[in-house]
Amino acid sequence: MQMLDAGPTDETLLEVSNIEVIYNHVILVLKGVSLKVPKGGITALLGGNGAGKTTTLKAISNLLHSERGEVTKGNISYRGNRVQDLSPAELVDRGVIQVMEGRHCFEHLTVEENLMTGAYTRKDGKGAVDADLDMVYQYFPRLKERRRSQAGYTSGGEQQMVAIGRAIMSRPETILLDEPSMGLAPQLVEEIFNIVKNLNEQEGTTFLLAEQNTNVALRFAHYGYILESGRVVMDGPAAELRENPDVKEFYLGMSDEGRKSFRDVRSYRRRKRWLS
C-alpha cells in the first residue's frame, strides 16, 4: 500500500460546521456534524447504515429540499462563502457535484446522452467535452460498448459507472461521491478508486466520499471521518484510523489474528457505540 504523493493542501475548501438536519419536520437525523474538506484532498466519510452519510452529502449539495429534509442549524461554506441557500445548479456552477447513492441514471436517455448531461454546465467548447467523453470511455470500456442503449436497461454496475462518468464529465473542482463502490465487481472497485486517485493527483480534484467499503476507502483517502447515528465520533488521518483498534475491528473486520472467515462469525457482535 503506497502513500499518495499529492497530498491535500492547507486550504479548506468545504467546511461543514455543526449542522442539524430534520426530515419531514420531525425526524432529526444529523445532530451536529462538522467536517472540513481540504483542497486537493480525498476525504472519506465512514459509518454504518443509517449513520447519516448520505444525508450529510445531500445537505452539502442542497438536495435535501426535494426529500422534505432541511438543514435547521449550522453552516455550510465553500471557499469561505455560505452556500446553504444556493440552488444545486448554482453549486454545480461553483464546482461541486454529487454522485448520488443508488445510481440515479436518466433511464430513457442513452448511456452517452447520460454522460453528456454531465457536461451541461460546461462552457469550454465541444472539443474539450468530447475529449473528456473519450477519457470516460477509456476509464469504462464497458460503457463504450453500451453507449447507444438506454441507461434503464443496463446492469446495476453499468449504471454505477454511468453515474460516476457523468460527474467526471462536468470537470468539477470537488466531487461528492456517495458509495461509489456499491455493486461493482472487485477489480472495478479498485479501478474506480484509482480513477479517483488519478483525478486527484493530476487534476487536483477534491473528493469527499461516503463509503461502506472502509478498507478501500481508507487506503485511498487522506483523511477520514467516522459517523455514527448522526454524529462524528472519530476523525483523523486515514493512516491513523487504519491503525485504530476499534476501526480495525468494526470497520475492517480484522481482529488480532487477521481477517476472519465470515463463516466463523458465530455470534452477533454489537458495535460499540462511541457516543450515543
Binding site: S61, L63, H65, S66, E67, S87, P88, A89, E90, L91, V92, D93, I97, Q98, V99, M100, H104, C105, F106, E107, H108, L109, E113, N114, M116, T117, G118, Y120, T121, Q150, G152, Y153, R166, A167, S170
Partner: protein, 333 residues
C-alpha cells in the same frame, strides 16, 4: 356509391384537419410532460388565458375592470385604443413568459421530486386558479378574436375538386376550411422546430433528463428553474397558437379551456413524450372519430365523437401501452 366514397374522402380530409387542431393543443402537453414528467391539465386553460389576453390587448381592455369598478365605484373598461395583431401577439407572449415564471416560482419549485400524481393535481389547482384569474382579469363575456386569419371554406379547393364527381349533381367539390389549412401549416412548422430542439440541443437533452429524474438532474447542475420556465414559456406559446385557432372558431370564452379534453386521446395515442406523436396521434384520432361518426354514427344515434376518440386511443394502447411513439416504459428489477 362513388358519391359516398367521395363524401368519405371529404370526411377523411376534414378529419385530418380536425386532428391537426387537436394536435396543437396536445403539443403543449407533450412539451411539459417531456420536460418535467408533469401532466399539465392546465394546458387548456392556458390556451384560454392566452387568447383572452390577446383579445384584451388588441381591444385595449382594462384588465380587472370589474374588480376596479366594484371596489372603487368607477366605470372603466377600455383604454380606447386598438393594437395591431402582431404586436399584441408579442405582448401576449410576454405575459405568457411571466406566467411561466410565476408558475415555476410559486408552484413547481416547491414540488420538485414529488410523485407524478401530486404534480398532476397541482396543475389542476393551477387550472382552477387561472380560470378564476382569467375571468377576473378580462371578464367572462364572449369575445371575438380576429387576427386576420382566413375563415370559411376554400373556394379554390371546392371548385378544383368538383370534376371528381364526374358531373354528379350531389357532389360539389371538397370542403376544406381555410383556417384549418393555415393551422396545418403552423402545426407542421411548430413540430419540426420542436423536434429539432428537443433531440439535438443541449437544452433539449437536459429537458429529457429532468423528466426522468428530478434529483439526478439537479445533482448534475441542471437548473430546474430555468428548464421549467423555458418549457412552460414554450408551452405558453403553443397554447397561444391553439387559443388563436380555436378562438377564431368559437369566440374566446370559458369553454375554450375544455379543448384540453379533445387533446387527451391524441396524447395517449401518440405517446406523452413524443412531439411527432402528437401530430400523428391527432391525425389518427381526427380521422378515426370523423369516419366513425360518418359510418357508424347514424346507426347509433350520433354524437359518438367524444367517447370514440378515447376508445380508439384505448385500442391502440392495449397493443402499445406507451402510445405509438412514446418512450417505452422501462420495466426492470
Amino acid at each position: 356509391m362513388p358519391t359516398q366514397l367521395l363524401f368519405g374522402a371529404e370526411v377523411f380530409l376534414n378529419g385530418l384537419m380536425a386532428g391537426v387542431l387537436y394536435a396543437l393543443v396536445a403539443l403543449g402537453f407533450v412539451l411539459i410532460y417531456k420536460a418535467s414528467g408533469i401532466f399539465n391539465y392546465a394546458q387548456g386553460v392556458m390556451a384560454l388565458f392566452a387568447a383572452l389576453t390577446l383579445v384584451g390587448i388588441m381591444d385595449g381592455q382594462v384588465p380587472f375592470s370589474h374588480l376596479i369598478n366594484a371596489m372603487l365605484g368607477t366605470d372603466v373598461h377600455h383604454f380606447g385604443w386598438h393594437v395591431n395583431a402582431l404586436i399584441s401577439i408579442i405582448l401576449t407572449m410576454g405575459v405568457m413568459i411571466v406566467l411561466a415564471y410565476c408558475v415555476q416560482q410559486f408552484v413547481f419549485r416547491h414540488l420538485v421530486g414529488q410523485e407524478p400524481i401530486i404534480l398532476f393535481m397541482a396543475t389542476i389547482g393551477l387550472a382552477y386558479f387561472m380560470e378564476g384569474f382569467g375571468d377576473l382579469m378580462w371578464g367572462s363575456d364572449i369575445k371575438k378574436l380576429d387576427v386576420g386569419l382566413p375563415q370559411g371554406g376554400s373556394f379554390w379547393i371546392e371548385e378544383n375538386s368538383q370534376w371528381l364527381g364526374f358531373g354528379n349533381e350531389e357532389f360539389y367539390g371538397f370542403f376544406l376550411d381555410q383556417l384549418d389549412i393555415v393551422a396545418t401549416g403552423i402545426a407542421a412548422i411548430l413540430v419540426i422546430v420542436l423536434v429539432l430542439f428537443s433531440q439535438y440541443t443541449k437544452q433539449g437533452r437536459a429537458m429529457r433528463a429532468v423528466a426522468d429524474d428530478h434529483q439526478a438532474a439537479l445533482s448534475v447542475g441542471i437548473s430546474l428553474n430555468f428548464i421549467w420556465v423555458m418549457v412552460w414559456s414554450v408551452a405558453g406559446f403553443v397554447a397561444l397558437v391553439a387559443g388563436i385557432m380555436w378562438g377564431a372558431k368559437s369566440g374566446v370564452q370559458f369553454s375554450l379551456s375544455l379543448i384540453a379534453l379533445k387533446a387527451l386521446p391524441v396524447l395517449m395515442l401518440g405517446g406523452f413524450t413524443s412531439i411527432p406523436g402528437a401530430i400523428v396521434g391527432g391525425l389518427i384520432i381526427g380521422v378515426g372519430e370523423k369516419m366513425f361518426e360518418f359510418i357508424v354514427g347514424p346507426m347509433v344515434g350520433g354524437a359518438t365523437e367524444n367517447w370514440f376518440a378515447y376508445v380508439l386511443a384505448l385500442l391502440f394502447l392495449v397493443f402499445r401501452p406507451q402510445g405509438l411513439f412514446g418512450e417505452k416504459i422501462i420495466e426492470r428489477v
